[in-house]
């Protein structure tokens, strides 16, 4: 059995297949692992993908781009208004729904999304060689209910069985398997996604293998397209310098230049310099120009600083410093840019930067992994919000290290999903006859004091051993209501103390 994960972005869509315990992105019929989310409508057919993107120069009013931005939005939405003014396709409102008007036909944004999903399904099926229906679809974290519904409907209309809609940042974490190996410990992960048209940064707390979004910020004013545009502007000025023609007012020439700049930008992520060549750009004149990576970085320096500033702002918002972040996950095609990765690395010098998976494939792979987890399960669609009880405070156990100083061990970090159980073994010197375990609760990183102690357990009459240690096993179980059961056992004698700490009502 196989399942797939699909990520539909504003500019590109990507599908990954989960099969035999592995998730991998599948290449489309053109051999590309990422398919442009562009749909061109002609009289006889609809074209999805690269062909539609390339033919957009000639067919601008019949080609739909960035459908994700309008999906599920009403005409009153400021984002939708912005989209309508920028869109080259005419949009009208009918029955309270925004629709494209193409060749006097009305087309729903959902139908456009459906065409893209169908293309992804086709791609996955051709790669798998068998029919596949089960899918996990990713949505941005800031998608509302109506947008999620629209996306889900589009996927269903394409013949998919949508097992679940998951958020893009959590899919990215899943792709790297963060917190999936063992359900203990707590860490904070920053997901940096620079997509085609938007930048979204999310801080996720991973606790006992469960993800919880602490803060998120989405900036729609910056994206990969901005870099392409900056490069295209530079190329246009180059062309003006050499050929004395200002082509900035010529949309067709600019579009050709944009396509060329896009390709150059992609190659600059791996190469030191790239060649831009446009045949007959304007007035029969060809354009040929070399752009070095340094030049590109210079052109886009303001954009880079904007991209990096957003991280600092979000950290400030959560009240974190760079040290509180344990991992950084990069996703979105533009996160490939080496300069950007360098800048992020500068902010988090001690943190592991996860970029082993191509950033534009991280999210679909995560979706595919989730699809693999859900495969064969019943009722995979969640009816309600995933609300679970978590512990409110850190629970710590006091111990002493070799030098005799107090040492606290965190048994339940705050935010641990309940119910939960932890066990901890302490080694006491063999020559003492009784031990005392002290339990503390704390909210911050401030040093412990006696007031935060909420329970203590005393284990007496231990057998004295001249050599060797007493093994004291402590098992803590926290119930969903927050009450705590502590069992303390001396492994040698089997002596046992049990206490229950109830919740203050």
């Amino acid at each position: 059995m196989a399942a797939i994960g699909v990520h539909l972005g504003a500019t590109c869509a990507c599908a990954a297949v989960y099969k035999d315990g592995r998730a991998d992105v599948v290449a489309n019929d053109a051999g590309d692992r990422v398919t442009p989310a562009v749909v061109a409508f002609s009289e006889s057919e609809e074209v999805v993908g690269l062909a539609a993107k390339q033919s957009r120069i000639r067919n601008i009013s019949n080609t739909v781009v960035k459908v994700k931005q309008i999906l599920g939005r009403s005409s009153g939405d400021p984002q939708a208004k912005k989209y309508i003014t920028e869109s080259k396709c005419s949009m009208i409102e009918k029955n309270g729904k925004l629709q494209y008007e193409i060749d006097n036909k009305l087309i729903n944004p959902e139908d456009v999304a459906k065409l893209i999903f169908s293309k992804m399904k086709e791609t996955a099926q051709s790669a798998l060689g068998s029919d596949v229906n089960d899918v996990v679809v990713t949505v941005p974290f800031d998608f509302g209910e109506s947008q999620k519904n629209a996306l889900g409907e589009a996927a269903t209309a394409a013949g998919f069985n949508v097992m679940r809609l998951i958020h893009e940042p959590s899919a990215a974490l899943l792709a790297y398997g963060i917190g999936q190996d063992s359900p203990t410990g707590k860490s904070n992960v920053l997901v940096y996604k620079l997509g085609g048209t938007s930048l979204s940064i999310t801080v996720i707390e991973v606790n006992s293998g469960i993800y919880r979004v602490l803060a998120t910020n989405t900036d729609d004013s910056i994206g990969g397209v901005c870099f392409t545009e900056a490069l295209a502007q530079h190329l246009a000025s180059e062309f003006q310098r050499s050929c004395k023609h200002d082509i900035r007012g010529n949309p067709r020439a600019m579009m050709k230049l944009m396509n060329s700049a896009d390709i150059a930008k992609h190659s600059l992520s791996t190469l030191g310099s790239a060649n831009c060549f446009v045949d007959s750009l304007y007035d029969g004149l060809d354009f040929d120009c070399n752009v070095s990576r340094a030049r590109f970085e210079l052109i886009c320096s303001s954009l880079f600083s904007k991209c990096v500033e957003a991280i600092k702002k979000l950290l400030q918002q959560v009240g974190f410093t760079a040290d509180d972040i344990n991992k950084v996950v990069l996703c979105g095609g533009s996160a490939r840019i080496p300069k950007l990765q360098q800048l992020i690395k500068d902010i988090f010098p001690t943190v592991e930067l996860l970029n082993s998976i191509p950033p534009d494939e991280v999210i679909p792979i995560g979706a595919a992994i989730e699809a693999g987890i859900l495969l064969g399960k019943e009722n995979t669609l969640l009816e309600e919000d995933a609300l679970i009880e978590c512990s409110a405070k850190d629970i710590l156990l006091k111990g002493v290290d070799e030098s005799g100083a107090d040492k606290f061990t965190v048994l339940f970090p705050s935010g641990t999903p309940l119910p939960a159980r932890r066990q901890h073994t302490l080694h006491a010197p063999g020559n003492i006859s009784s031990v005392c375990l002290e339990l503390y609760e704390s909210l911050g990183k401030s040093p412990m004091n006696e007031e935060e102690k909420f329970a203590q357990i005393v284990l007496q009459d231990l057998d004295k051993k001249e050599d060797g240690l007493h093994d004291i096993l402590t098992v803590l179980t926290m119930k969903r209501d927050g009450s705590l059961h502590v069992t303390c056992t001396d492994q040698d004698t089997g002596k046992c103390e049990i206490i229950t700490v109830e919740v203050a009502s």
Binding site: G209, L387, S391, A392, G399, L469, E497
Partner: protein, 629 residues
């Protein structure tokens, strides 16, 4: 490893503080641990992952040990051909756990059964083996085949022969509802597609719980299906058409059974609902609540009414008190007035006596008898006519002067009095004259002034008019001729005269007409009959100046006025305007007059229009300064 701190400080007891409660967090629904968490929550295990894992392993290990297979006593007599009617759980020795058996347990049971009952084994033991498929071991194989396939197992579970399909009747549950229905619902809960089937609860369940329970069961979503009971097997069909036909048959049968099942559940819930003492309780509570609300409403209304009534009573009481007070005052005033009058009377009497005695002392200012008598008469007249003040003056003058001076003063006073009497007489006469004159004028005015119409002639005219009614040919000429013929006065009258007179007669008061008819022969009486006319004419002149409405005060108006007088006590500013406003159709002046009349007569009981008119007349005479009397 960490060394635990040595228990040094007072460590006898383990003391504890209270933790703060857990918080609800929204988490991302991704990852295997989330799935594990949700699964754990759904199966309602409150343990950590490790525990769950441990338990799983434990149950897997111990499952085999604990699995106590019940030997099915009839096993060896089973007919493999009749597999459809056999209890597959019992065949595998799982009769005690049945649908709760896990796949692992089934597998284990099958394994042990195979080890025990496989034909090869038994052959080795020297038992008799049935031919081919006829051996009872086929039943074991069949049972495993069904129970190991989730779909087939579900189908078999659906028609579990040990399941009690019965639905308690309403009468059964009259007494012990919970004892009867609780096991039934628990039994049927296993068919639910949804987990966490609400329990029936007990008498103390809250309304929400009961409501949730019944709404769950009324919308019961059952997975029970009856494909196991299919008459024909699809696989047996030889061709596609036959398969289709079988499928159709089966579908119909299943639908029918499903419907029956739904009806069964429905009846169960209906019965429970109608018997549920809690529902009754809630209904009663609801009813009581409504009743209480209604009562409260009524109570509030009653209280309001009572308050109103009280207020009204208080008002009435106050009005009554005010009235009493007023009356008392009036009485007091009357008393005072009476006393004063008496005092005055006494004073006058005294003064008169004094005058008389002084005059007597002075021998009435004369010596001869006749003069004395005349003077006595005059003095008596003086005593009668003079006011208290002038009498006092006179007396003082008399006491202070000599006999001669006294005589002069008395004579002067007498003269004055005589003059006054004479003037009064003259005035009376003049008035008399004027009155007769006006009456004459009014009687003669009707005749048009052309000819005199004596009483006899009038009588005759009336007779003639009655004799020749309207419509007679040239009526008025005939009447005139008749008059001329029969008249005793001998005055010749033309038709025109007759018409004029008749018309003027018609205009006259019908009473006068009657009077004329009745007392035609008596001239004196005729004159007398005209007098009221004169009377009514006289006041009409006087009323001219005042806007007094001649219309009488009706009882209603009287009552309104009384009420208004009570509501606006004496010290109210602009009292009379308000009173007038309260009595429609009456002006301020009317009301004032009316009130004055009342205080004059000191009797409020003057509602008769006749008396009314007189009273109005009186007050208009007295209180309208413009009217000269």
């Amino acid at each position: 490893g960490f060394p635990t701190p040595a228990a040094a400080q007072g460590n006898e007891v383990a003391f504890m503080f209270l933790l703060i409660a857990s918080v609800l967090c929204q988490v991302e629904p991704v990852g295997r641990w989330f799935e594990a968490f949700i699964k754990r929550r759904n199966i309602n295990v409150s343990a950590s992952f490790q525990e769950l894992e441990d338990e799983k392993e434990l149950s897997e290990e111990s499952g085999d040990e604990e699995l106590q297979l019940e030997e099915y006593p009839m096993l060896k007599t089973l007919d493999p051909k009749d597999w459809k009617n056999q209890d597959h759980y019992a065949v595998l020795g799982l009769g005690n756990i049945r649908y709760r058996a896990t796949q692992k347990q089934i597998k284990a049971a099958h394994k042990s059964m195979v080890l025990k009952h496989h034909p090869d084994k038994r052959k080795a033991a020297g038992e008799q083996i049935g031919e081919g498929d006829n051996d009872y071991f086929t039943c074991i194989t069949k049972a495993y085949e069904i129970l190991s396939d989730p779909v087939k197992r579900r189908a078999f579970n659906s028609i579990d022969p040990t399941f009690d399909n019965s639905v308690p009747s309403k009468s059964e549950a009259k007494e012990n509802f919970f004892e009867v229905f609780s096991p039934v619902f628990e039994r049927n809960a296993r068919w639910s597609n949804k987990k966490n089937v609400p329990k029936l609860g007990d008498m103390n369940s809250s309304f929400e719980e009961v409501d949730a329970f019944y709404s769950f069961w009324y919308n019961f979503d059952s997975w029970r299906e009856f494909s196991y009971l299919d008459e024909e097997e699809k696989e047996k069909a030889e061709c596609r058409d036959e398969r289709r036909w079988i499928e159709k048959q089966n579908r119909a049968a299943r639908a029918l059974r499903k419907k029956e099942e739904m009806n069964r559940i429905r009846t169960l819930v209906d019965n429970a609902y109608s018997c549920d003492p809690r529902i009754k309780k809630f209904k009663e509570e609801e009813k009581a609540k409504k009743e209480a609300e209604k009562k409260a409403k009524v109570e509030a209304k009653r209280k309001e009414q009572e308050a109103k009534e009280k207020q009204r009573q208080a008002e009435l009481e106050a009005a009554r008190l005010a009235k009493e007070k007023e009356e008392e005052e009036v009485r007091q005033q009357a008393l005072v007035a009476k006393k004063e009058k008496e005092i005055q009377k006494k004073a006058i009497k005294k003064e008169r006596q004094k005058l008389r005695t002084t005059c007597k002392n002075w021998n009435y200012f004369s010596d001869n008898e006749a003069d004395c008598v005349k003077m006595m008469e005059e003095v008596e007249k003086l005593c009668d006519r003079l006011e208290l003040a002038s009498l006092q003056c006179l007396n003082e003058a008399l006491t202070s002067t000599t006999r001669e001076g006294g005589k002069a003063a008395v004579v002067k006073q007498i003269e004055e009095i005589n003059e006054q009497i004479r003037r009064e007489k003259e005035e009376a006469e003049a008035r008399m004259r004027q009155a007769t004159k006006s009456s004459e004028k009014s009687t003669t005015g009707g005749g048009g002034g052309s000819k005199n119409w004596p009483e006899d002639d009038l009588q005759l005219l009336i007779k003639a008019v009655n004799l020749f009614p309207a419509g007679t040919n040239s009526r008025w000429e005939v009447i005139a001729n008749y008059m001329n013929l029969h008249s005793t006065t001998g005055i010749k009258r033309t038709a025109k005269d007759v018409i004029n007179k008749a018309k003027s007669l018609q205009k006259l008061d019908p009473h006068q007409k009657d009077d004329i008819n009745k007392k035609a022969f008596d001239k004196f009486k005729k004159e007398h009959g005209v007098v009221p006319q004169m009377d009514s004419a006289a006041p009409s002149e006087r009323f001219e100046g005042s806007p007094l409405d001649s219309s009488p005060w009706t009882t209603e108006e009287q009552k309104l006025l009384e009420q208004a007088l009570k509501t606006y006590p004496v010290n109210t500013p602009e009292r009379w305007e308000k009173i007038a406003a309260a009595v429609p159709g009456r002006s301020k002046k009317d009301c004032m007059k009316r009130y004055k009349v009342r205080s004059l007569t000191s009797s409020w009981d003057c509602t008769r229009p006749g008396l009314e008119r007189i009273l109005c007349f009186c007050c208009s005479m007295r209180y309208c300064p413009r009217d000269s009397v």
